[in-house]
Symmetry: C2
Amino acid sequence: MELTPIHHPPHPEEMAGRLSRLQAEMATQGLDWYVSFQPDNIYYLTNFANFVHERPFVLLIPASGIPVFVVPKLEIPHVESRAIGALTLLDYFEFPAPEGGNWFDRVAEVLGQTGRVGVESVCQLQILEAIKGARVRTDIIDDLRMMKTPYEVGRMVRAGQIASAAMADMLATTVPGRSLGEVTAAANRLIYAAMVADNPSINPQATKLTSVFHPAQYSHDPHNFGDLDMRMQEGGPHVGIINAVMDGYGTEIERTFFLGHVPEAARRPYDVMMQARALVFELVKPGVSMSEVDAEVNALFRAAGYGQNLLHRAGHGMGVTAHEAPFLAEGDRRILKAGMSFTVEPGIYFPGVGGFRHSDTILVTDSGNIRLTEGPDSLEAMTL
Amino acid sequence: MELTPIHHPPHPEEMAGRLSRLQAEMATQGLDWYVSFQPDNIYYLTNFANFVHERPFVLLIPASGIPVFVVPKLEIPHVESRAIGALTLLDYFEFPAPEGGNWFDRVAEVLGQTGRVGVESVCQLQILEAIKGARVRTDIIDDLRMMKTPYEVGRMVRAGQIASAAMADMLATTVPGRSLGEVTAAANRLIYAAMVADNPSINPQATKLTSVFHPAQYSHDPHNFGDLDMRMQEGGPHVGIINAVMDGYGTEIERTFFLGHVPEAARRPYDVMMQARALVFELVKPGVSMSEVDAEVNALFRAAGYGQNLLHRAGHGMGVTAHEAPFLAEGDRRILKAGMSFTVEPGIYFPGVGGFRHSDTILVTDSGNIRLTEGPDSLEAMTL
């Protein structure tokens, strides 16, 4: 498998390939149109990044031929400056508009009165009501996104390199008293500088950086970033996190680390987490079900007496976002295939002690998996 | 009207008042439940800010009694640390979960098989499918949010003070060559410092700052922030923008300004924009329809020969977001009432010349409107 980093924008052929695979799947499912509203799906097909607000962007993909993109008039030059690949733009003036001039009028006109229309699970009711034909819930674009193209692999390789450098820098600059603000600013500066050196016209709308850490008193509560005055402290466990979408491609690296000494209560959880992590790297290969990977990890944690310390699955997909389907989760019965990408991040959480979780981003290969992010992970290396 | 700034979090009584007004409207509409998924609506009712990802947060509001909040197990301590007011938490372990353990199972169990269930226009198909009773599209929470409580007015007064100071600083530090990065960093630093001085435990998840400017070659394209290397230049028009949600309350101030000299081609558009702006301040009062305000502004621009230079409506609502319903738009037939808040931002756009738009945030009062953001706006004052 080719692992050359890529940082140029996609060529029109890359985008045409995505559209053509989507239309092939639409033919299999007997769909006359597919309606996409979800911004990441629209980005995947157009290279244009929008955010959801009250002026909707709706992408209408016919069974064959060029997609129609319904966009606010205000955004036409913005779309033209970023979109890659064949696209017909259809504008509406404003929301709300006088009768007959609204976005849903344009959508209804294009789709007509009949036919089978595929929609996303996250399709909004107000969009569903503009579709007069038979509506079929099917997440075809999300499904396509699971299999990375060689171009995407190259972009994710590059994102992984940058994230790994940012994590190495975070670990190299740890010191008791270092603040969340300092860590975030330093990491984001490093990441932005690397991205802009690669490509001065990166898209800020397709860039989302989360560069943070949790000291021990918060690390058991992994989605709590509410205390802006968090500071690193002697001891640990701290959990350092780089989760980033860099100009349209996601990556994640996380490390559990200690300053000065490792509290006794942290040694066994760290060791068990490392065993679970090794198990995931060993299990992930084509043909294995995602639920099986998570079930084996959870069984390992339970056997160690840590069943009550689980808060999440073993990993999630990665692609044009840094958090997406499919999932290394007991509830995901899909089968691993070469070309998929995941985080590997089994974790356990102990109020009063802290959280234990490393994360790396991997690519599933024909023979197993390879890491797209890199860094030391032993307890010795993580005691700083 | 009381305009004392407020920066403390809402008291439980404030939250109880919002719930009680919602339940009163549910009774009027004959609803047994209301299902809210939209994060800003959930924030309005709970003070908890989530973002949409694959683990949904769904708020289920009964006709009477305490709402049930279906949340991922991982987020329970996070919700508990931020939510204010009565709330029953119901968790699910992960997404996806093995059969019977998913978020939609929890939602379906709470709602039962029958009854009239109100849903948002933006309700997702996957949530609609978990509702077995009769589904009624009705944006009750969005409607409630239009009328600001005295607490909300106080928060928006404070947000307006901070934004006005940030805009004054942006204008005071303009110089040819000043970069987008410098402007954004300086303004955001000022805003964060003011927020944290008010309240050290502000919620970063409920904070979203857009502090940017457009030089003349971009200012005709008001949603294009794609060039990270934008710099201020001699001449103009530049458009400086502070659009911010500060710890849960939104505000906006924008100014069109010039460095050193005003190009001849910019004088008349600036003057006409100022006439339109004065017209909005004059027209906005209780009893007037929103569409009428926008129609009069558009007529003024067309009479000046600028009908082709319109890209948007005269203003939008403001509240727990910095961009929301209702709208000063020809398509919005609602009637202005005291307690509503809007931006006033009629604008015109000329490729090759630039964009012309000031924005201020106002509150509709019994007798007209008052500004929540303040700053000079004459051409003389804006020539720096």
